[in-house]
């Protein structure tokens, strides 16, 4: 056992970080309730997956600036929400240095996904 459990030490005043994360999870959840479900409905109910080839997406969906902005914001919100969620899961089940390492990998992965996703949604030329 290393030192005293945290509950016996004087607790440092909160920096408000946990609150921010908590609120972010809730706000993003509400946004996703609309965005993600709409997205899923569009890709699965309105159109059939089979129709949505790469050409179709670039020509039909991303030909509209509005739709691009929508898709991009959804990307950011989903990544925020789900990576914050995974942070919780990891902090629950992994402890000590493992936790630190896995969290670091998690944030790297998040950054890669932001770059990859933004890259295609934002930089692909309009037709």
């Amino acid at each position: 056992m290393s030192g005293q459990p945290r509950s016996r030490q004087p607790r440092p005043a909160s920096q408000g970080r946990e609150l921010t994360f908590w609120l972010l999870t809730r706000y993003s959840a509400v946004a996703l309730f609309v965005l993600a479900l709409a997205h899923f409905s569009m890709t699965h109910f309105i159109f059939d997956p089979a129709e949505q080839t790469a050409e179709w997406i670039t020509q039909m969906r991303w030909n509209s600036l509005a739709l691009r902005i929508l898709d991009w914001s959804m990307l950011i919100i989903v990544l925020t929400h789900s990576f914050l969620g995974m942070r919780t899961v990891i902090m629950d089940y992994l402890k000590g240095t493992t936790q630190g390492v896995v969290l670091a990998l998690l944030w790297i992965l998040a950054a890669i996904l932001v770059v990859l996703g933004s890259n295609v949604v934002l930089t692909l030329p309009m037709q």
């Binding site: 109910f45 990307l75 990576f83 629950d92």
Partner: protein, 137 residues
Amino acid sequence: MARGTTLPAPRRGIRGAIAYRGGEGMLAWAFHRISGIAVWAFVILHVIDIYLVGGNPAAYNELLQIYASPPGRVMETLLGAALFYHALNGMRIVVMDLWPALTAYHRQLWRIVWITFFALGLPGAYIILKPIWELPK
């Protein structure tokens, strides 16, 4: 504390959760976590495949064939189910966060989650799966 003896490790973490006979709330949480992780895993995949739309359209289209195949559709249906459950239960949580008094009705809210889940989810699943037997092979 007993001197010279190590205390046996109490049941904690996932093992504790499996051993404990929780109620609806615990099930709701377990499903929420599992579905959240599942959807997160898919999101990773999805961002990568979307990247291919710009990076390598041919590869994307090949992947799409897998998504549109019968096993792919079953997978998409499960994904939809996870997302839909997670979204509905997520709203159940958010609603209680906003109005703590609603915690007294968490079981009722949980029932509403499942009623909605099946009422909208079954037709949805039908739409996604229909092509399996309708499209020409």
